[in-house]
């Protein structure tokens, strides 16, 4: 309870949480408020915002409702961001734990693989992967995770290296627990907090990467994405700038919200640790 109150006392964290809550509400309510296909043609093309209250944010080049696209886009952005981050964290912490706990040859191999992935810019990796395999939501998630799992892996390994020398690990060994059981039941849970602290940055980066991929036409074409909306609007940037600006603002707010909320959580936990 006190942690929650401390969280509430940091204004950035509250702002982040509010934005995030609004986004999640948008994503969840998308099908209720805008049932049917968000890409359906709803009105005249290129209607400016605030002209027709049945289409408050206007329409795009084909006459699709921008507000409906925005709501459904929130869903894609959050889904991809969270899924990619979850995948990256899961893979990263497993690899990091194995490397740190096993040591020796396995450690060397796993860390060199991590190095190999780290030397390629993660966006290029995602770009290459999607263009080879073909764009769909699952592929985009994998592509983003592919470039981001190395951070968590390194952090997890460092943490495991210190934890594995602790007494309770030695005692677990002494009572004959299987090394894998020790690694994943005893060590990993304790190594997780610093890894999870990275999640806000990873989610924010994943949302941005997804938007960038969609902007380049490598997103799932059958789904509304904010990056795709910005790319669509770019061709009419001079005549209908709102088509790029609206999803652009949504994107900025989302990344900001995720980041602030994440930082808030990290800070409150850090304070707690400090007090102890």
């Amino acid at each position: 309870m006190s942690r929650f109150r401390r969280f509430l006392r940091t204004p950035e964290a509250v702002a982040g949480a509010i934005i995030l809550a609004a986004l999640i509400a948008m994503a969840l309510s998308a099908s209720l408020l805008f049932p049917g296909d968000p890409q359906a043609i709803a009105g005249p093309a290129l209607l400016p915002p605030f002209q027709d209250w049945s289409l408050p944010l206007g329409t795009d080049r084909l006459g699709r409702d921008v507000l409906a696209e925005l709501f459904h886009g929130a869903r894609t952005s959050l889904a991809v961001g969270l899924a990619a981050a979850a995948a990256a964290l899961a893979v990263g912490s497993v690899v990091g734990t194995l490397a740190g706990f096993a040591g020796g040859f396995i450690d060397e191999v796993l860390m060199r693989i991590t190095d190999a992935f780290q030397t390629v810019p993660s966006f290029l990796l995602a770009l290459a992967f999607v263009s080879v395999v073909g764009p769909s939501l699952g592929i985009v998630v994998i592509a983003i995770a592919l470039g981001t799992w190395t951070g968590p892996a390194r952090v997890a390994r460092a943490e495991v290296l210190s934890i594995r020398e602790r007494d309770y690990v030695a005692s677990a060994r002494a009572i004959g627990m299987h090394p894998l059981a020790i690694a994943f039941r005893e060590v990993l849970p304790n190594a997780l907090p610093p890894v999870l602290a990275m999640s806000s940055v990873i989610v924010a980066a994943a949302i941005l990467t997804e938007a960038a991929l969609s902007f380049l036409g490598l997103g799932d074409p059958n789904r509304v994405t904010w990056g795709g909306m910005i790319a669509e609007g770019r061709t009419v940037l001079r005549t209908a700038p709102f088509l790029s600006i609206v999803p652009g603002i949504a994107l900025v707010l989302t990344v900001l919200g995720v980041y602030l909320a994440g930082e808030g959580i990290v800070e409150t936990t850090a304070v707690r640790r400090g007090l102890q």
Binding site: A40, I41, R61, T239
Partner: protein, 536 residues
């Protein structure tokens, strides 16, 4: 501060000219061509092979048509729509077995060697027929080219070949390259493919990848007082949005081939000093086509194809996707073609209820989720408009219960997926009509074309009656009879729908007021620009 005065002065000059033009409507723009100057224009692609005799495509012509000339060029008022270039006259024999070209005298290649009938014979037999993408079909029966003297070339055909077809093919297919350059080594690897040598008004000077192509004036050009320009610079601007800003900033003076997005035209037409021109592309009509894979059992059913045709609101497509810069299509020959077009074909007015009824009749009832079946839809990535039409088609199909899943590919992957792997159900393609259905149109529906030939029938469509009609037209010599057969062809295609023609469009040029003699032939952007000039 000085920047302001300059812009105000140009503003004033512009409005003064505008006033002058309204005061003296007859003389307003009839300026005498001025010599000299450098024309800078936007180029959105960088073709590596610049040999128009091998790669007969608009992207290559755009640059190399100024360097390498054809036997004849399209013309608004010439006989049969042609104006002489390297050939002065052309005559077809009554039996369809030979065509005689009289060539222009005193023409020199850019390296100083004289141009003769041997060059024409070499280009036709060694390049157009075996290597050129379009020439392979048109010149397939070309057996020999006789050169009784330096200025006469007689094309001999093994089978009767309609003179009308050869004539219509001249502007795009007859680029003549020098024999003395190409007879050494392999033609495909000749360095002149990247630095062309021709007879045209401009010489190839240099190419800096990612930056520009530079052409300089050919002082020995055969045209009297031509060319007017000293230099042409093709500024590489792959980003379509940047062409408009470059025009406004006076960095470039011309953006052809709709380099300025259609959505920007309305705004840019109001900018003083710039003009928007929709003429000069009449001979380069692009067709917006839904390509159909007839291997899918649903699409093999004529009723389903008719339903899809009824589900497309062509007027909406013209108005929204093309912003009015297009016309609706009725069949495989565009409405603006003066020789072959017929409006007397079955049409498919926009009618969702009828489309739904047709699908019900065909036995594809809506499932509980409102869907009948799912299709893979591949819009070609070459134009914004083809991609946008893909988005529209998906929605139009959703309205009749067909769930179309879009698959986006880059150009290379799209060509492979559609024309080699046949991994599509529906595709959106932009074939070009080149003045005669036999050049690049009948191939879209004809059967028996090997896998991997791009822009051909790769949908597995086979209609013996249509094949017979195409074969008959290809050997009918009489112009009227041949034209009638192609009218029949349009009817048959519109009735059986091997593909669905949605719209026809061409391009828009935006230029500064100072650029003169723009759009004075139907293939202006890909003609030689010998008479183009810069005033003021």
């Amino acid at each position: 501060m000085s920047g302001f005065t300059i812009s105000r002065r140009t503003m004033l000059a512009g409005s003064a000219m505008l006033l002058a033009s309204t005061a003296m409507p007859d003389t307003g723009w009839a300026q005498t061509p001025k010599k000299g100057g450098r024309l800078v224009l936007a180029a959105d692609s960088e073709p590596r092979n610049l040999n128009p005799a091998i790669v007969a495509s608009n992207g290559v012509f755009f640059i190399s048509s100024k360097i390498v000339e054809t036997l004849a060029e399209a013309s608004f008022d010439g006989k049969d729509g042609l104006a002489p270039r390297l050939a002065l006259s052309w005559e077809g024999a009554a039996d369809g077995l030979s065509v005689t070209f009289k060539l222009r005298d005193g023409v020199k290649w850019h390296d100083g060697k004289p141009f003769t009938s041997a060059d024409v014979a070499f280009s036709a037999l060694q390049i157009w027929k075996p290597l050129q993408n379009l020439g392979r079909t048109v010149f397939k029966d070309l057996a020999a080219v006789e050169t009784p003297d330096d200025l006469t070339a007689v094309f001999k055909f093994a089978k009767p070949t309609p003179f009308q077809l050869i004539r219509n093919a001249l502007p795009a297919l007859s680029s003549v390259v020098p024999k003395h350059i190409y007879e050494v080594g392999k033609i495909e690897d000749n360095p002149a493919n990247n630095a062309p040598i021709g007879t045209g008004p401009f010489k190839f000077a240099e190419y800096k990848a990612g930056q520009y192509y530079r052409l300089t004036k050919n002082a020995d050009y055969w045209g009297k007082d031509e060319p007017y320009l000293d230099e042409i610079i093709y500024q590489v601007l792959p980003d379509r949005t940047s062409a408009a800003s470059a025009l406004e900033a006076e960095e470039i003076q011309l953006a052809a081939f709709s380099a300025v997005p259609l959505a920007d035209l309305d705004r840019i037409s109001k900018v003083p000093g710039l003009k928007v021109i929709s003429k000069g592309y009449e001979g380069l009509t692009y067709q917006l086509v839904v390509e159909i894979n007839h291997r899918r059992k649903e699409l093999a059913d004529l009723k389903v194809r008719q339903a899809i045709a009824h589900a497309i609101d062509k007027d909406f497509v013209v108005k929204t996707v093309f912003l009015g810069y297009a016309t609706t299509a009725t069949g495989p020959v565009p409405k603006n073609d003066p020789q072959f077009y017929t409006a007397d074909v079955p049409t498919y007015p926009f009618d969702v209820a009828k489309a739904n009824a047709l699908l019900d009749e065909a036995g594809y009832k809506k499932g509980p989720d409102g869907k009948r079946f799912t299709l893979k839809l591949l819009p070609a990535p070459y134009f914004n408009e083809t991609k946008q039409f893909g988005d529209y088609l998906r929605q139009a199909l959703a309205a009749i219960g067909i769930d179309a899943q879009l698959v986006n590919n880059d150009s290379a992957a799209h060509i492979k997926a559609v024309y080699t792997d046949h991994a599509f159900d529906l595709a959106v393609g932009p074939p070009v009509f080149r003045g005669d259905p036999a050049i690049s149109t009948t191939i879209l529906v004809q059967s028996g074309i090997p896998d991997g030939v791009p822009f051909s029938n790769q949908g597995g469509y086979k209609n013996d009656a249509l094949d017979a009609l195409i074969a008959k037209a290809s050997e009918t010599l009489d112009t009227t009879a041949r034209t009638d057969l192609y009218k029949e062809f349009q009817k048959e295609v519109a009735a059986d729908l091997p593909l669905i023609n949605v719209a026809e469009w061409s391009f828009i040029s935006v230029a500064r007021d100072t650029v003169g003699n723009i759009a004075n032939n139907p293939r202006w952007a890909v003609s030689n620009w010998a008479d183009t000039y810069l005033a003021g």
